[in-house]
């Protein structure tokens, strides 16, 4: 019984670590701020959730205590990480960070112009940000 639970928590923690590693690769590989933010918020948040879930399962089975702090941390990360990504991306757009050359849609620009705010020119640089 205990072995099964240990395996489950170990697998959860490993899956979370793999997700975080994938997120880090995305941060290095993706070409512009918006795509990198996409990689950083989603998979990193999921990775942290898996790791915290693994820790929760382990302490539940090993010590028999339900650690509400871990559950609260899961809820907290799940709530805040997307909003942080959203604010990050919006601040980048407002300050005129250029999009990748392959970008084809920019709905936010239309919305900004409808609201009467001049949108910064973020579209389609000729050569585009360099891939590292």
């Amino acid at each position: 019984m205990a072995t099964i639970v240990e395996w489950i928590s170990a697998l959860l923690a490993l899956a979370g670590a793999v997700f975080c590693a994938i997120s880090a690769f995305g941060l290095i590989r993706l070409p512009d701020v918006y795509l990198r933010s996409h990689a950083a918020t989603k998979s990193a948040a999921l990775g942290v959730l898996f790791i915290l879930g693994g820790a929760f399962v382990y302490f539940w089975a090993a010590d028999g205590e339900i650690d509400v702090k871990l559950l609260l941390a899961i809820v907290f990360v799940f709530l805040t990480s997307p909003v942080a990504g959203h604010l990050n991306g919006r601040a980048a757009y407002r300050s005129g960070v250029k999009m990748w050359t392959g970008s084809v849609r920019d709905d936010f620009k239309d919305v900004l112009e409808q609201a009467g705010t001049p949108a910064p020119d973020t579209t389609l640089e000729k050569e585009g940000p360099k891939r590292p």
């Binding site: 907290f76 805040t80 959203h86």
Partner: protein, 141 residues
């Protein structure tokens, strides 16, 4: 920009502020037996209020807590001083704390300790000082 564009931040802040404040309360009461205490609870409450000030504005924070934060600092220091002075009335040295076990209606047998009141003073002082610093820096004029 219209104010409505902060709708994600504002709505999530409404939820997150309560989570942070509840966790600060937990840290405050758990400080005797496990990590926590008045200092970190005060910093966390100030963090929650700062999040509110970021998502809305400083006026909202002033409306949520309609006291002068400098007075809260003074009140905290006064509470800490009074718990220290209270020991003098029982012929004990200054800052000697006492505790006892009481039957509370909802909680059952509970250990009540005067150090908690001292911690409340620390908590109020930390919240007051932190918020005074933040609001003084953040405000115009």
């Amino acid at each position: 920009m219209p104010r409505g564009s902060d709708i994600f931040l504002q709505n999530i802040s409404k939820i997150v502020v309560f989570i942070v404040l509840a966790f600060a309360l937990y840290l405050f009461f758990t400080g005797h037996g496990s990590p926590g205490g008045g200092f970190i609870a005060g910093l966390m409450s100030a963090g929650a209020l700062l999040l509110l000030a970021l998502a809305y504005d400083i006026e909202t924070v002033r409306k949520v807590i309609p006291f002068d934060f400098k007075l809260i600092t003074a009140l905290g220091l006064l509470i800490a001083l009074c718990t220290g002075t209270g020991a003098l009335f029982f012929g004990e040295p200054f800052l000697k704390h006492a505790f006892g076990y009481f039957q509370l209606p909802l909680l059952g047998k509970t250990e009540l300790h005067t150090a908690l009141i001292f911690d409340l003073g620390v908590y109020l002082a930390v919240v007051g000082v932190t918020m005074t610093i933040l609001l003084t820096i953040g405000e115009d004029s």
